[in-house]
Symmetry: C2
Subunit: 414 residues, 2 copies
């Protein structure tokens, strides 16, 4: 008898805000034999992947490549490469992942200032711009789509204001890339981080990033700084040990040399994850960005129609709803975790609970990438209705799936 | 016509010191559908993987889990979590990857001291111990198997001396884990980092680590330190901004909470790479560590017999040869890169060039994990002989494969 059994994961319908189901083509790509990292055939695939990422990010940036780690590794790579100890970093927070930006920026030695918006809403861009004008940070870091609250922040005006004031603008687009429009060039974003395990439907383990010449200039400036050689230019820096980028693994100046024609040796590129990234982005580009965004909108509409037909209430300001995450108020008297457990155990469906102030109050349902399809939306609506009835919740039965079918009838998406 | 073609990598015989061919069972494991990171079925697989890693590392340590990144991410996670700015870190260097330890330790704010050994040799342990005794570092960091020189450093005496002097001992066993004995408990190693893409034959992208209570105590102490609250205890610290662990992604105190029963949310675990790690380590444990080490020795013997029968010379001190990497002097007048290119283009075989002082002087041939098998060794010997003849090198023809076959005849390994 073998001590450790053959891998045989149960099939799941994953309707969380990530990770979601990986596209079967992506899974297949990972099963191909590997190539050596300096094999010309592999470096060719690396170059091609950079080209594809530029299309995904709709950018003319030279640099678009993955960090070999999960989404937050991409965020940390960008922040640790851009933030010099003592830099003023401004983070407007409207959910959990804004706090993560603060947490990472502080560890990079930033002097962080924040503005907090009530959860379930986003910022009026003018308010953020006024704060930037008054405090003149070196860097503004913001989340685009907050999966914790299901809200999406408009960014274009903030980006333009940052550009005018010569402030670097960093955006966490982990939840939105490949699902809703993300336009770094148009919105004046200097560095953007995407996630794989959400709307791209690639397993977690790589973080595609892109940054422009303004960001690169700061990275390259830090590449040359020797320890202790830089003159102090603000009060904090006299207490600060001046130094270059504090991480080797996340040093964008070294990583871009590795991804350039020079191929300077750094880490050993994660071959199978690169295959996965290439295939996942290839699927996105084949579908077409506009068509893909429209599909996500249509599936969201069907899901929302079904949820509302059941008589349930959505959480959050509808004017800034993130199309790929739908937050649902847990009905009074219902144990949210018991509902989630029954969905998983009896129906093989996973939906998400929530964080911090929303814990126990809402469920979060993702409609992302490969998971975002008619089969899944109809399955979850039928299952949720049955499970809620089983929990004694007052729901209108027999309505949700019909409402979703009606919604599909009004769109051309299936 | 599709702009980006279907993935279809050429089959390669990969005989570098990593990455090497992934075991087909590992590739298959990656193609299974994913599970959510908090799905009880997935957390069960995480727990099982920790148990398997403890067997692989032959340790009773509580903590044995992967960092989600390539091998150097594991090294950086350990060093950045253990090194407080101003800590004295001692790195004995006998090849390229010793320099990497210095590079990372310096970025963590360490006061690094080094001792350098001529490439191709290792240290007499007593010399290292004397240096530790004289300089009393907080941490000693060393490479076990240097793929850059094909040398392996004995560590047991150094480890015991560190323990007696209350110095933390960190070992980079990226190249050796799963191919030759690595015994952290026996050798008094406090934190050890393994690699996946070498003797474990798992694609690059995860770094299994293990650390004991001594290392954990330092990590937990740093978890609690608030910025600026710690009193100075040595001259450097007055210039140093005192702080906790400078990385969020690599913070072992947070990562061990994520890997504990508490499951505190951190990154989104890289599902498919975890499947790969679990399958790769399962294969190792099924083969048995002792049997696996013996297999690596037998394949090495056949390769070396063949190389020498051709009349070629090995590089490095044979008394400290790393069994899984064989360094071969490039014959006078032969263009090493041209030989490598012909091996790849005509025979589909990849061997490695070398770094720094050895550039252009040696080839490095790996016999690691799944790549370490009779079929590959006989293939490369025949091919190398033919390519060298084609390059006009003076080699004894018709001898290499026969010598390897003779070597296999003397062992029970195929």
């Amino acid at each position: 008898m073998k001590k450790y059994r053959d891998l045989s994961p149960s099939p799941r319908t994953i309707m969380t805000p990530g990770p979601v189901e990986a596209d079967p083509r992506v899974l297949r790509a990972m099963s191909f034999p590997i190539l050596g990292q300096f094999d010309p055939e592999f470096t060719g695939l690396m170059n091609e992947t950079m080209e594809m990422l530029r299309e995904l990010f709709q950018t003319t940036n030279r640099w678009a490549y993955p960090i070999d780690g999960t989404s937050r590794s991409g965020i940390e790579a960008v922040l640790t490469s851009l933030i010099e100890p003592g830099d003023r970093v401004f983070v407007p927070i409207f959910g959990r992942f804004g706090h993560l930006l603060v947490e990472i920026a502080e560890r990079c030695g930033a002097m962080v200032s924040t503005l907090e918006q009530e959860w379930g809403k986003v910022f009026d861009q003018e308010q953020v711009i006024r704060h930037i004008g008054a405090n003149r940070p070196h860097i503004v870091a913001m989340v685009h789509g907050e999966t914790s609250t299901g809200c999406m922040q408009p960014l274009a005006d903030i980006g333009k204001a940052c550009r005018e004031m010569d402030v670097l603008f960093v955006v966490d687009a982990v939840a939105t890339i490949g699902g809703v429009p993300v336009e770094p060039d148009e919105w004046c974003i200097d560095a953007v981080i995407g996630g794989t395990q959400k709307c791209l439907s690639i397993p977690s383990g790589m973080a595609p990033i892109s940054y422009n010449q303004r960001a690169e200039a700061k990275v390259l400036k830090r590449k040359k700084i020797e320890r202790g050689l830089r003159p102090a230019h603000h009060p904090e820096s006299s207490q600060t040990q001046i130094r270059g980028i504090q991480s080797n693994y996340f040093d964008l100046s070294q990583l871009q040399d590795y991804w350039s024609a020079d191929r300077l040796n750094h880490h050993t590129e994660a071959t199978s994850m690169l295959y996965a990234l290439r295939e996942g982005v290839r699927i996105v580009l084949e579908e077409g960005l506009e068509a893909r965004f429209a599909r996500h909108r249509a599936q969201e509409a069907a899901l929302v129609a079904g949820i509302q037909a059941m008589g349930m209430t959505l959480y959050g300001d509808p004017t800034c709803k993130l199309p790929v995450v739908t937050c649902v108020m847990i009905p009074p008297g219902v144990d949210g975790e018991s509902v989630r457990a029954m969905l998983l155990d009896d129906f093989g469906i996973e939906i998400a609970s929530s964080f911090g102030p929303l814990k126990g109050k809402i469920w979060r349902i993702g409609t992302m990438g490969y998971s975002c399809r008619k089969k899944n939306v109809l399955h979850i609506l039928g299952a949720l209705e049955a499970v809620l009835a089983r929990h004694g919740a007052r729901v209108h039965t027999g309505q949700a799936v019909q409402a979703a079918l009606d919604s599909y009838g009004r769109s051309r998406y299936e």
